[in-house]
């Protein structure tokens, strides 16, 4: 059974990509059909993922590998392959299920768009590329799909090509992630140089297996950090997080897909996949590369949570919350809680997709209004959206017991508390939890409670095609907590390859109450601060300087503008100047020399050669004229000449002898 699954596992990413090509080849003729195709492709991928999920359930720590040679150069062969392990299977289930909900939601959300088929083709392609990242068993194959994910994100963020801001955001996302990918690629090359293989698992010869890891030696730290550069770019970690909030320019389902299932998950997944490289030479589970991961994650998590408090765009708040949660996942991976980080990633995929689609539903109802200060009182007009959004908000805030996010956040905090290096990340993450609860309650109060601020609008609940995905995702966000509890940590055991054990005592720990208190503090603070919805934000009224600092995203974009981009502009200006005056000057001088030479040869030609030829012809003419006189045409002068000639010969003969 396992062999045929491994032989056909490539169909999972291939199906959505083929569907995307099919939709593109249909053109604009049948937009409805394109949506049907995309959804069918996603359902097929979901079913296949489900089939592939089964063998990983039976044996704990199951790992199926299918490798083949891509091409041979010299006596080396480049091999790529696919791997199916609990990590890949769980990710595939999440991607296809969340993706399907987003696809269905898009049918309603994008109904009026005239480029519907292009949209679904890109969505399908995006999903397929991400599935490819997940099952790749070679760092090179992973990198290929990784870049395809980047391409798809570029196409989708800039989907509304007629908007200059969308085009700029797409370009920013693409270029910013490229910066990280350069490091990633260097890491791949270094890894290949040292270990001679890019396969992850290859019967003990792969680069993640003990023999391969032993070959890395001390360079493992640098390789790991270079690979982490790619993850920083893709997962929007500080300092390359700037593209992620701007990516909100894309249609809302795209934001949901980028933030929940595909793009940003790739970075966290990458770190989890190549975790053995990070942990080479670990002392007490701490290596310098993992410490970098932790601190980057801490900075990102706290910074994004702070910025989210002062944003007024409903999607930007969610974007910064994603950045913050990704930071949390990175911290979890860095401190050694790989399973906790991936569990948070999976849970986050569901509830963040739910929140984005809920925001999309609100935006759709309000005719593309995204400013939360102009919303309010929507809980009566849109009850389904409100209920599902509240579930998503509580899952994100980390309310324990009933919501998946609570348990996974618990796991992450537990992992950070036991990090031997430092306790500072743990405390900063606790602050992050309070902030998350605070900005989510701020958002939900602004959007759904209070009085209607935009009185002239008549918002109404979205169509079923949009609300049903919301309900499905909300149910998932709750049901997922069943397999996440510490009492029966099925998902954690599944990921780490142990048998789950049931222990009801673990359900109630002092830690849980502590985090419940933290979340409660955050929500209470939010309610206390924002329940009177005045014109000005309370924080803006009390601490205008801080609010301005946070509202402008800590001026990081501006700092980049003044430093890196200004440096680039300066360099561009310098190159332009060099090109215009130095290189062009040289080219012009060379040209002038050529022209001078040309003039010289022209002169020679006209004055010397032409004149010489002219003289020659004149001379020939004159000679001809002279000679033609001899040709009288009369026979007797000729004869006379012959006689004279003969006489001359005779005389010469007589004289010579």
């Amino acid at each position: 059974m396992n062999s045929w699954i491994m032989n056909t596992v490539w169909l999972i990413p291939a199906t959505p990509i083929v569907v995307a090509l099919l939709i593109l080849s249909l053109g604009k003729t049948a937009p409805g059909l394109s949506a049907v195709f995309a959804v069918i492709g996603q359902i097929a991928a979901l079913i296949m993922s489900f089939v592939a999920f089964f063998p990983t359930l039976h044996a704990h720590g199951f790992r199926g590998v299918e490798n083949f040679t891509w091409f041979v150069f010299g006596n080396q062969s480049l091999r790529i392959g696919f791997v199916l392990d609990p990590l890949a299977a769980a990710m595939m289930m999440m991607i296809t299920l969340v993706g399907l909900c987003i696809f269905v939601f898009s049918i309603g959300y994008m109904a009026d768009d005239k480029n519907l088929s292009r949209f679904f083709a890109y969505l399908s392609f995006f999903s397929g590329a991400m599935l490819g990242v997940v099952i790749a068993n070679s760092l090179l194959l992973l990198f290929i799909f990784w870049e395809l994910v980047g391409l798809a994100s570029y196409l989708l963020i800039g989907f509304w090509i007629e908007r200059p801001s969308a085009a700029a955001a797409a370009k920013k996302a693409f270029i910013t992630t490229r910066v990280g990918d350069m490091g990633f690629f260097l890491g791949i090359l270094w890894l290949y140089h040292n270990s001679g293989t890019l396969l992850f698992y290859d019967n003990g010869h792969g680069c993640l297996e003990s023999a391969g890891l032993a070959m890395l030696g001390t360079s493992a730290t640098f390789i790991a950090l270079l690979i982490f550069c790619g993850a920083i770019g893709k997962s929007g970690q500080f300092p390359l997080h700037v593209w992620l909030p701007d990516a909100m320019e894309g249609p809302t389902p795209v934001s949901a897909l980028i933030h929940a299932a595909t793009m940003v998950a790739a970075g966290v997944f990458l770190v989890a996949r190549v975790y053995p490289i990070f942990s080479v030479g670990a002392i007490n589970g701490v290596t310098s590369s993992l410490a970098v991961v932790v601190w980057i994650g801490v900075i990102t998590g706290l910074m994004a949570a702070l910025v989210a408090v002062a944003q007024s765009d409903i999607k930007r708040i969610l974007a910064y919350s994603t950045v913050s949660q990704l930071g949390l996942m990175m911290v979890s991976l860095g401190v050694g809680g790989v399973a906790a980080g991936i569990m948070h990633l999976l849970a986050h995929g569901f509830f963040k997709a739910l929140l984005f689609l809920g925001a999309g539903s609100v935006i759709h109802a309000l005719h593309h209004e995204q400013d939360i200060r102009k919303m309010g009182g929507l809980r009566r007009a849109m009850p389904v959206t409100f209920a599902t959004y509240a579930i998503g908000m509580m899952a994100l805030s980390g309310v324990p017991f009933f919501f998946s996010g609570g348990w996974t956040k618990e796991e992450v905090l537990h992992a950070t508390s036991s990090w031997p290096s430092s306790h500072i990340p743990h405390y900063l993450m606790l602050v992050g939890v309070v902030l998350t609860a605070l900005y989510m309650s701020r958002q939900i109060i602004y959007v759904f409670f209070g009085n209607r601020r935009a009185a002239e609008e008549h918002p109404h609940e979205s169509r079923h095609v949009m609300t049903i995905p919301l309900i499905v995702l909300a149910v998932c966000a709750i049901l997922l907590s069943v397999v996440l509890t510490p009492a029966w940590p099925w998902l954690e055991s599944y990921l780490t390859g142990h048998a789950p054990q049931f222990d009801s005592r673990l359900l109630f720990q002092p830690m849980i109450l502590f985090s419940l208190g933290l979340v409660g503090t955050g929500i209470a603070l939010g309610v206390w601060m924002y329940h009177r919805t005045g014109e000005l934000d309370p924080l803006q009224r009390k601490l205008p300087a801080l609010f301005r600092f946070l509202e402008n995203k800590m001026w990081i974009d501006e700092i980049y503008d003044r430093t890196i981009i200004a440096l680039g502009a300066l360099f561009a200006w310098l190159s332009d100047w060099m090109d215009r005056y130095v290189w062009d000057g040289i080219v012009r001088d060379v040209g002038a020399i050529g022209q001078l030479f040309g003039k010289l040869t022209t002169g020679t030609d006209e004055r010397v050669i032409n004149a010489g030829v002219d003289e020659g012809t004149v001379g020939a003419q004159g000679f001809g004229r002279v000679m033609s006189r001899w040709h009288s045409g009369q026979i007797q002068p000729y004869l006379g000449a012959v006689a004279l000639g003969m006489l001359a010969l005779l005389l010469l003969y007589a004289w010579l002898g």
Partner: protein, 102 residues
């Protein structure tokens, strides 16, 4: 009679023929001059044979006979050309024949 007498005769005859060919204007007379020069050559052939070391074989006579035969053919061609030219130009005065003038 000695060889030199004969050579003087033939040289005189040749010079007379050459004078005729160069000075006469009538084409027929030019032909006659040419025939005279050929006759002078024939006299030389026979004279050199008659006073040469090998008189047993009549080589000089035979060469002379060949030359006479060739001269006859040449005279035939020349006379035919004169007639053809006369038909064209209605004259035999060679001064008038200057179509080959360069």
């Amino acid at each position: 009679m000695t060889l030199s007498t004969l050579l003087v005769v033939s040289a005189t005859l040749f010079c007379l023929g050459l004078l005729a060919a160069l000075s006469r204007r009538h084409a027929i007379f030019i032909l006659i001059g040419i025939e005279m020069m050929l006759a002078a050559a024939n006299i030389n052939f026979i004279a050199f044979w008659r006073f040469g070391p090998h008189t047993a074989h009549p080589t000089g006579v035979i060469v002379a006979i060949f030359a006479i035969a060739i001269a006859a053919a040449e005279a035939a061609v020349g006379l035919a050309m004169v007639i053809a030219v006369y038909r064209h130009f209605r004259t035999t005065n060679v001064d008038q024949f200057n179509q080959l003038k360069g």
